[in-house]
Amino acid sequence: MGPLIPNGIIPADWDSIIAILIGLVFGFVLEASGFSSSRKLAGVFYGYDFAVLKVFFTAALVALIGLYYMDYLGYADINLMYVHPTYLWGAIIGGAIMGVGFVAGGFCPGTSICAVAIGKVDAIVYVIGIMIGVLIFSELFFLFQPLYEGSFMGNITLMDSFGINPYWFIFIFTILAIGIFALSDKIRSKVKKVFY
């Protein structure tokens, strides 16, 4: 049956409308759970709040386990799912830059928009910074192009690159995630409490 759009159950023309609806809900949930606070987000790096880590790991796990159950039961075909293409060095360097921006500014791009919506000045400055970055990147694209398009590895997943059974991978990944959650709780109890 699924995925719904590639199988034509929902026409592809609805793409943007569905994206807007999901975006609205995502933004609302981010804001409601306090993700529009740069102090909460930066807490991951200082060790006083691991909400970001827990939330995104849990979201990945729920989606992963849920999708594989749906695939097993025949409700969704995992082979038809979109897999983002990997440009290895582009991803590594881009990730590092994004990480520096994250710890320096206290937002990731999504949460910064969320914080702009509730009128935070630091977020407004952050978004202007993003725009300047976008401008520089597009103007100097000829310089970045070899990095941007190089070391292309196709639409691969971790299962493809490690060549292991996806079910075992999910199981190991789950154990790992829960271990990380426990560890982060331990670190948090040791770090001096920060009021924010």
């Binding site: 796990l61 386990i65 594989y68 159950y69 097993y72 079910y167 075992w168 999910i170 199981f171 990944f173 789950t174 154990i175 995630a177 829960i178 959650f181």
Partner: protein, 220 residues
Amino acid sequence: MVKKKVAKFLALRYKILALIFIILAGGLVLLPKYKKHEGIKPEELLNNVINPERYISTDALAHKIISKDPSILLVDVRSEEDYNNYTISNALNIPFSKLLNEENEIYLNQDQYDLVFFSNDNFYADQAWILCNRLGYKNIKVLEGGINQWFLTILNPPVPTENMAAIDFEQYNFRKAASMHFGVAYPEQTKEVKEPEVKAVPKKVVTIEKKKEVPTEGGC
């Protein structure tokens, strides 16, 4: 009392959630695996099978061949021996036993041509059609009745009787013309052209009378 119990339970909520995760992930590992269905879905295949549009009639095929339709590709699924014996012109030979060989995929899995499968009857052609359809190959048709029907309708069309409709005569004329195209000779086509007989005209005897010699007469 109840509140205390609830509070005690809620203190464990993260551990319970973590346990649920582990159970669900472990479930995926332990579930019995089954081979996944490849190709199109059974319902879709059934729909295609009962759709009469998968057949092409011998008349339609003859018309396409004669008008040199470039979109059709004929595939003879009979054995190589039969193929060498007789086949429809320009047909490709992919014996049924070699249908799913890798080297044949390039002909079968494409969307440039309308493939037409045929065998002696539709029997093997139908089986080949089902196999290819199940794999999701497109634009495949089966010649209705196969070579036998081809022989009965195109190469050797039955002569309509006098009490049949005009349309039958038209069809007969088409089939006859088509069979001539495919090299069938008809007696009336090979009728000897008789040369008009030349009647022997009795010879007239023309007697040539000798001129009487006239004695020279006088003169100036």
